[in-house]
């Protein structure tokens, strides 16, 4: 019960904490503007190819869905890493680490609310995809799509925790947040298939849960069922689980080093 309480209070507090530096209307505005602008940019690049006869019309749906799924990385990577960053800036990190609370629910709980926030971002993006770019959701099993989006957000939050745990000891974790948010655009099959990447670097794509999530999302939208995409989801869960475990190990070991060297608030 105590572990559950720590989990939920961590989740709620980490979400509330972002409003210390972000007005709620601004949060809402960003939620509406950012997915639209990112998706529009790449869709128009795709349309440039279509109008010059260099791509088929399918590319619009491909890019729109890829970018719609990717917006959750802002929540699950950027916001999750930002938790540690803000704890450092606000001087609350020593207090968090001084509590006797079990670290695992504290660690995972802080990321959980961003999973749901990320799902909301994806839902908004899908609305844009349908109404602005004409993506067809007629064959989509909505329940299966919700499962895919939830699992993608959850496993990506695990990946965010991994990077967050790794960057715990560094002066400015946001650098890592920014780098990884951008790098996903290259490796995760967002705008082009992973197979279009140079062969020697294709394996990198498969360490990101988002790669499996985007693939699964596209398949469900085009009519596949949960059973059809079960292997993909299984792979994604394995990668996500490994990320959480590694992230937790990093978090604990860096916490230990930071305590030992007195560099807890190395900002």
């Amino acid at each position: 019960m105590s572990l559950l309480r720590i989990f939920f209070s961590s989740a709620v507090f980490s979400f509330k904490a972002q409003f210390s530096w972000l007005y709620p209307p601004m949060w809402l505005a960003m939620k509406l503007v950012m997915p639209l602008s990112q998706m529009s940019f790449f869709v128009f690049v795709g349309q440039f190819l279509i109008t010059t006869g260099n791509a088929s019309a399918d590319i619009v749906a491909y890019i729109a869905i890829g970018n719609a799924m990717t917006v959750l990385s802002w929540n699950t990577i950027f916001s999750v890493i930002n938790i540690t960053s803000h704890d450092k800036w606000d001087g609350t990190l020593p207090l968090v680490l001084a509590t006797p609370a079990h670290r695992l629910p504290l660690f995972v709980g802080r990321a959980m609310i961003h999973v749901f926030d990320g799902m909301l971002s994806v839902a908004i993006s899908f609305v844009y995809a349908v109404f602005l770019f004409g993506v067809n959701f007629g064959n989509t099993d909505i329940l299966a799509l919700i499962v895919v989006v939830f699992l993608t957000a959850f496993t990506m939050a695990g990946f965010g925790l991994l990077i967050g745990g790794f960057s715990f000891y560094f002066r400015n974790p946001l650098v890592f947040a920014n780098i990884f948010t951008f790098v996903l655009l290259i490796f995760c099959g967002v705008n082009f298939p992973v197979q279009d990447l140079p062969q020697p670097i294709q394996f990198i794509s498969y360490i990101f849960p988002l790669t499996y999530g985007i693939d699964a999302g596209r398949k469900v939208i085009s009519g596949s069922t949960l059973i059809d995409i079960a292997p993909l989801l299984g792979q994604m869960l394995i990668v996500g689980f490994i990320s959480i475990v590694l992230g937790y190990v990093f978090f604990r070991s860096f916490e230990h080093v930071a305590r030992k060297t007195g560099r807890l608030e190395a900002v």
């Binding site: 602008s37 795709g46 190819l49 790098v183």
Partner: protein, 260 residues
């Protein structure tokens, strides 16, 4: 040294020192433009036409804009975090001169941005970059950079009043990439977006850069683009000066600068 120049130089020097001390400049300067160019070049790799030019020059322009936003947004945010914004505003120096000094340092980094993209495209992606008119190409890049920096000044004035400058910085990146048609012709955008495109200096700037890269004897369109961009840039500077005066007065009157 005249006082105005001394203020601009000091702000420039401080901004350069901050840039060196804080590694985050790598993101708008190198990582983001590299990623966008990589994605665009991969999308365009089978295409025939002027796509390499669009991808590379667009990537460079996007880097300049990302860099400007980052520096104008974070310049203010950083002062807030350090608790020095009140002191900066309270000094008898004009706030616009302080921000101008920061913007010049940003412009210098912006140039390295475009150079980095051209270098990466040429060495990593083997994109042929034969610039037809190097002098006008360089001129149009510098003028676009000035225009982008002037636009950044307008945003910087608003950033003084908000505690969400960092969010604005992230949120304004893509909309400008889209509206200015950095990697595609603005004709593809819905017609109701066109007015917004035409009041952006970078829209005209990127077109001038493309013309100078592709034509040895540039057409009248090049000069039209440059002329309109200059007029827009002057309007940006005038508007920024007006806004900074307003913001400064409001900040001093309300006394809520640090809490904003």
């Amino acid at each position: 040294m005249p006082q105005t120049l001394r203020v601009i130089y000091s702000a420039f020097r401080m901004a350069m020192l901050h840039w060196i001390a804080d590694p985050q400049w790598v993101i708008p300067n190198v990582i983001a433009p590299f990623v966008f160019t990589f994605v665009a070049l991969t999308l365009f790799k089978e295409a025939t036409g002027p796509f390499g030019l669009y991808a590379v020059l667009g990537g460079g322009m996007m880097g300049m804009w990302g860099n400007t936003l980052y520096s104008s947004g974070f310049a203010i945010e950083f002062e807030k975090w350090q608790g020095t914004l009140e002191e900066v505003v309270a000094t008898p120096s004009n706030l616009l001169h302080v921000i101008a000094g920061k913007s010049i340092s940003n412009a210098l980094f912006g140039l390295t941005n475009m150079a980095a993209i051209l270098l990466i495209a040429s060495l990593v992606f083997r994109v042929p970059l034969d610039v037809a008119n190097p002098i006008l190409f360089a001129l149009s890049i510098v003028l676009t950079l000035i225009s982008v920096s002037a636009l950044g000044l307008i945003f910087a004035s608003a950033f003084v009043l908000t505690r969400s400058a960092q969010v604005f910085t992230n949120g304004l990146e893509f909309p400008i990439y889209v509206i200015s048609g950095s990697m595609f012709p603005i004709g593809l955008l819905p017609f109701w977006v066109h007015p917004a495109s035409y009041i952006l200096g970078p829209t005209w700037g990127i077109e001038a850069i493309r013309i100078a890269a592709g034509q040895e004897n540039v057409s009248l369109t090049f000069w039209l683009n440059v002329g309109v961009m200059l007029l827009i840039t002057l309007a940006y500077v005038a508007l920024a000066a007006f806004l900074f005066k307003k913001v400064e007065t409001k900040s001093r009157r309300d006394g809520t600068l640090g809490q904003a």
